[in-house]
Symmetry: C2
Subunit: 492 residues, 2 copies
């Protein structure tokens, strides 16, 4: 066997274990009965540890060295680079510590769920403190130059640093803040002619299914289920599942959520078959993955053209909503109002939520901020960035699960996703200047075709910066996003 | 750590892997999108191989020897015996051969599915021949005294042999044959006053849910889904899932199917907590497991008292069916008619199906029968045992998946389940002579309580013969079953 084939045979086991983990997570959030939780946590912990042990094993180091020395093709080199990066980064992390970290997080997630329900930060605080301690130790194991936060960022966005985020964020915050001010002066109230529901959930589900099929989601390689928190997860390229939630009083939330998750799923379903089980059947980064979701949700889904396409579907599934016509609905989908909950935020204010979280979690990881100060800091930050303040921690510092799950360094991916999406979509528009007409008719093929060719088919073979360079001719810049926001939301 | 604790820590990993396999199987048959199948087969193969390697590893041998030498309690001894048996039996089987066997069977199952659909035995035959060859090799690895079939039986029914089956089967066949003759002379046609449907599937599902809850199935530790072939599977004692199917034209099939699967599930949900992750959180055998299903389906579910309990539920969920009254419905549930499909067979003819399969598979495994002769032998056997002959292989030799899956030696468990059920139920009736009145009122606690105390709480700690001795005072005998059949179905 060739050295790269020996490497492939070895890493296949890691990925088969990870596929089993993905199924276990999906099932936990969609199907698992309540009393299955303890055993499930143990099973996930076991599978993750087995995969982790294989990833950091010296055996993989030897296979990588051999495959590196004998690499013949670009594919060989991409394969070696991908696994070398994973292996090198993690091999200083002791498996016992890693398993303990996973367990600490699984426990903290359970407590978070109760704490959020009861808006009881004090209940959650000691668990969060444990998680922060463990994650800071993880950063030490992983290693870094400037900030321990850099070590964590690398997991979600290879090549990203605190220093680079400090360049990218301020112009984005400035644009958002100025647009919020503009919209605050305009009348940004909901259109009173809009019937607020309640709307049948089953009709909303049918609508989401139809829209997902229209943008290209393949139901023979996936399925759509309900969950408390929408997510997309891939067991394999032939099994990419979406979950979504529906709100009787807010059709926009479920529909845009379906587009968001659909964007994630199109990426996973579009990975090239020759990457199966290589590790390269993955995203370039969490930020790039998010960009695919945001592009379909925002650039496409909040455009007037999309709502023109949607009109006959709405007449069939939600006739009361359809009666006001596509212009009113598109305007509602693009309404700007500072609000408390990130996942429901509009495009303009969304990154302000991220700016606050980045500020807070950087303080935690760099040891400048104490967990017990978070509720107070949250209130102050919301006032400063958004001018609105939650009445309870449930709507404030407890709203997101990420910190409980130890996912420090993840939140910037959301902001990066918005930036990538704008830059990519500008390239799509340049390549297909007349696509909006087709979109109004429900033909999304120019958007999907461009993304398939420039993003999806590359899988995890390129780093985000390489991918952006290849796809758009430029490295990541906040300007396309600023331009996009100003064009859609600015004074005209 | 004590030697038994070291053993427990080791075997826990095997069981966590098996829990992941159970989830993967459940998902494959209920949720998985069609194009997920290739990756899923690989994931299951991988997890099974990892578990198998751990089971046969010399490390487990050493842990077992130490735990055996230092066993202090009955629990220690039961634990050692359980794993020693598993380890000793399998350790001569090479992992590569085992993985190949699993793959051969997964492939044969896929082909069987198509072959059955098209009633094309020729398509299936070469794959079945491969499976038979592999299973015969497996028997050689496992070892046996008299027949290679004994080695396979041991997997499903510890202690059972061909010789013992040759004692148990003939009296059962004789009783069934004589009762079939009796019913053939009587009018065994369906009652013409019965409305044959179609009946709403959703109403049937609701009815099944309500009946499952009534007999004691805990939905917080389980769930009920649809599948093509009903089954019950446990991921852990807190997560025991039932699947069922419903037929618009035959309410009895879905309802008795729910009771059957419910019987399996009550066993798994009733395993004592202190057995969690020990391996003893399992059934004494497949036959004992089947007995729990058959007892609820037949002894309880086909009794007139059960249909009295059911009457108000039917009035609510299926009023058209309810209108004929419980006597007619109970008589219909206990109607005897020789038929082609085992899973739909009545209690009297059921074991005749098993007798045929036992005869055929014994011939295959002992090398006397060729795969290509099976369709012909099936026709002859059906004529001989049941007096009815299928028009197609789809309704004949292709009807069951077991052979494709390599499960030779499994079919006798169905017959043994019927025998165990009758013997156990006789003991239940002796302990609770007045229970039928309670059952008519929907109170099943005396049945469940007895089974919990005498069967479920023992888990896999006893061999079937030990369990039957402890629970009924006798080893397994065909007589209670013959008596039960004659009382319910004989001339009165």
């Amino acid at each position: 066997m060739r050295a790269s084939e020996l490497l492939l045979a070895y890493v296949r086991e890691i990925q088969e274990l990870q596929s089993a983990v993905s199924l276990a997570y999906w099932d936990q959030r969609t199907c698992m009965p309540p009393r299955g939780d303890t055993a499930r946590a143990a099973v996930i912990g076991r599978l993750e540890r087995l995969a982790f042990e294989r990833l950091i094993s010296p055996e993989l180091g030897v296979l990588l060295a051999n495959a590196d020395a004998r690499a013949e093709t670009d594919a060989d080199r991409a394969l070696v680079r991908y696994w070398q990066r994973e292996h090198e980064r993690k091999r200083a992390v002791p498996p016992d510590f890693y398993q303990q970290l996973v367990t600490t997080c699984v426990q903290a997630e359970s407590v978070w769920e109760r704490a959020r329900h009861d808006s009881d930060f004090a209940l959650f605080a000691p668990h969060l403190a444990n998680v922060v301690d463990a994650v800071r130790r993880l950063a030490d194991y992983l290693g870094y130059q400037d900030s321990p936060y850099d070590a964590l960022l690398e997991e979600y966005e290879p090549g990203m640093t605190v220093a680079r985020l400090r360049e990218l964020l301020p112009p984005v915050v400035a644009t958002s803040t100025s647009l919020v001010r503009h919209h605050g002066q305009r009348e940004s109230q909901a259109n009173p002619s809009l019937d607020r529901g309640p709307y049948d959930l089953e009709a909303q589900r049918r609508l989401s299914r139809e829209v997902l099929a229209a943008i290209g989601y393949d139901f023979s390689s996936g399925r759509l289920d309900d969950s408390t928190h929408p997510f997309t997860i891939a067991m394999s390229p032939g099994d990419v599942r979406i979950t979504n939630r529906y709100n009787a009083d807010d059709v926009f939330s479920g529909l845009l959520g379906a587009l968001h998750e659909g964007g994630h799923a199109l990426y996973d379903q579009g990975l090239p078959e020759e990457f199966n089980w290589t590790g390269l059947d993955s995203a370039a980064s969490f930020g790039i993955h998010e960009s695919q979701a945001r592009l379909w949700e925002n650039q496409v889904g909040r455009s007037p053209h999309f709502w023109h396409y949607l009109q006959p579907l709405l007449e069939r599934h939600l006739p009361r909503l359809a009666s006001v016509g596509p212009e009113v609905l598109a305007a509602e989908a693009a309404r700007v109002t500072p609000s408390l909950i990130r996942t429901e935020a509009d495009e303009v204010t969304y990154n302000l939520h991220i700016a606050l979280r980045f500020e807070l979690e950087l303080g935690l990881i760099e040891g400048r901020t104490r967990v017990t100060d978070l509720p107070q800091l949250w209130q102050e930050g919301m006032q400063r960035y958004l001018g609105v303040v939650p009445r309870s921690d449930r709507e404030g510092v407890l709203q997101d699960v990420h910190w409980a799950g130890g996912m420090f360094g993840y939140f910037p991916s959301y902001m990066l996703g918005n930036l990538y999406a704008a830059q990519l979509f500008a390239a799509v528009q340049q390549a297909h200047p007349h696509m909006w007409g087709a979109i109004s008719q429900g033909d999304f093929s120019s958007v999907l075709g461009w993304l398939r060719a420039h993003i999806h088919r590359r899988g995890g073979a390129l780093l985000p910066e390489e991918l952006m360079g290849e796809a758009t001719g430029h490295s990541l810049s906040p300007e396309p996003f600023q331009r996009y926001l100003s064009e859609r939301y600015g004074p005209n």
